[in-house]
């Protein structure tokens, strides 16, 4: 009984072979696997040389499995699928004490950081990794168990959701700004001030115009001002006295309590949506990931 290690040019070439056979294209296989077509070509060549058999017929714009290739492909597909499923389960279940949470930089900075000590006190032994990105990642594709998502269930049909916070929005300014300008008392007065705009390319966020409408200023058009695509930078600009920005309660309430920000109006725009911890449907979560999920939900 010969070891597979000696039978194959490389074990990795099986994974390449499976993809190339399924996709009938070396280029497509390379795309799926994050490799070049040439690398795929070499891997298949290695297998063919080792076995002394043609596994593919090369056609124009396409490769087709030979008869021998078909047989081998069926078995390799079956074998690898067993292993993949098991590996995914192992990763999900036995993720052990490491849990990754996908979130925006704003959530990581303003919501999670102030609570990190409490997290450590409540769940000692669990290592939380926060993966920030400028978009909401596909958790399945990235192999990440948990994410923070804005919106509601209709926005995320492939995920389970547990609420963390509602979406309440009000204007905030920094003390430095208010030291130089009259403090606005009404939404109408706010329209006369320097406004800072959040313009995230990948995540929908409420705009100043939407906020004014929610306050009954139906004809108001927010003046253009500083436009920033990262909410952490928006808040920094506010604290630097550059103007007034919309504040999301769950992100700003601690800064307001600390006196670093000032809330400027009694009017709150409540969208009816919220922020949730999300995890993929039909996927096992490790014990630790479940604990993190439950802890997050308990902060609501």
């Amino acid at each position: 009984m010969q070891s597979l290690r000696h039978l194959l040019p490389s074990a990795g070439s099986l994974i390449v072979f499976e993809a190339a056979g399924r996709l009938a294209s070396f280029t497509a296989a390379g795309r799926e696997l994050g490799m070049t077509q040439a690398a795929v070509s070499y891997a298949i060549r290695g297998l063919e040389d080792q076995f002394g058999a043609k596994l593919f017929q090369r056609r124009h714009r396409q490769v087709l499995l030979t008869e021998a290739g078909e047989r081998f492909h069926a078995d390799v597909t079956l074998g690898l699928s067993h292993i993949r499923k098991s590996a995914e389960e192992l990763r999900a279940r036995a993720g052990g004490m490491h849990v990754t949470l996908s979130a925006s930089t704003a959530f990581a900075s303003f919501w999670m950081m102030p609570r990190l000590q409490k997290f450590r006190d409540d769940l000692p032994g669990i290592d939380l990794r926060i993966q920030t990105a400028d978009r909401d990642l596909d958790l399945v594709a990235e192999g990440i168990p948990l994410g923070i998502r804005g919106g509601d269930a209709a926005d995320w049909p492939d995920y389970e959701l547990a609420p963390i916070a509602g979406e309440d929005i009000y204007p905030v300014a920094g003390p430095a700004y208010l030291a130089r300008a009259d403090t606005p008392r009404t939404p109408a007065e706010i329209t006369l001030h320097h406004l800072i705009h959040l313009d995230e390319p990948y995540r929908p966020a409420a705009t100043w115009n939407e906020w004014f409408q929610s306050a009954g200023l139906n004809g108001a058009v927010a003046k253009r001002g500083l436009v920033i695509n990262d909410y952490v930078l928006v808040i920094q600009a506010v604290m630097e006295g550059q103007g007034i920005a919309l504040g999301w309660r769950h992100l700003t309430d601690r800064l307001i309590a600390a006196g670093l920000l000032v809330r400027l109006s009694d009017h709150v725009m409540t969208t009816g949506k919220g922020f949730h911890v999300a995890w993929p449907k039909n996927r096992a979560l490790s014990d630790s990931a479940e604990k993190v999920r439950d802890w997050l939900a308990a902060q609501a």
Copy 2:
């Protein structure tokens, strides 16, 4: 659905993991796979880091799979066994037009070479690779479909055999030697001549003393002379006029017919054994290998 290529630190680590789990020892796994213990340790470490889970408990003189490791091991074993079986079949069946034949250098030189053109004429398209060695290789372990074996069925219980030639042995000399010495006519006279001895370390071969006994010279002791462990070199020395050597009929008959060697006695030692093409029992032969086998047997 995440690709295994991204799920695993390396695909090869699965093969290492399977062996280590089965053998409950990194050192033993390394031995089986032709690696060092350290390499096994790194491979397992890579898997554990990637999954964030301990797969083995390290004990003194032993490693044991954890519960998570057990589950994963069962699935990996199943998946890899599918693939291994298929790979072995592919190799055997779809060895395609390449067939390897394991043989001695003497057989390759004196038997196969003179017939190679006929082989090509009879079996066009089949590429024959002759792997020579100074011993009879384990065909299963080497993944070689066919071999040439001396002896009989009792000598090779794990192989099927098809006869190619009997084992008939007579003395041969070169014309250059006979130009300088009286041509011996009887076995007794041969004892007075320079004798060249074959002494192969790994394959049993008839000796001069055995030949003399078969000729009825029971007290005769062959004089020591040139001793060579490769029969091709023996024949070369004979043709150079260095002395007389034992000639195996299936290897020397074409040289005799060509006048390059001279047969010296009417006595022939027939051992009752022979030379066969051999292939492992219970193993599929590719179509091409079967053709080569049948062609070889048909030369008898």
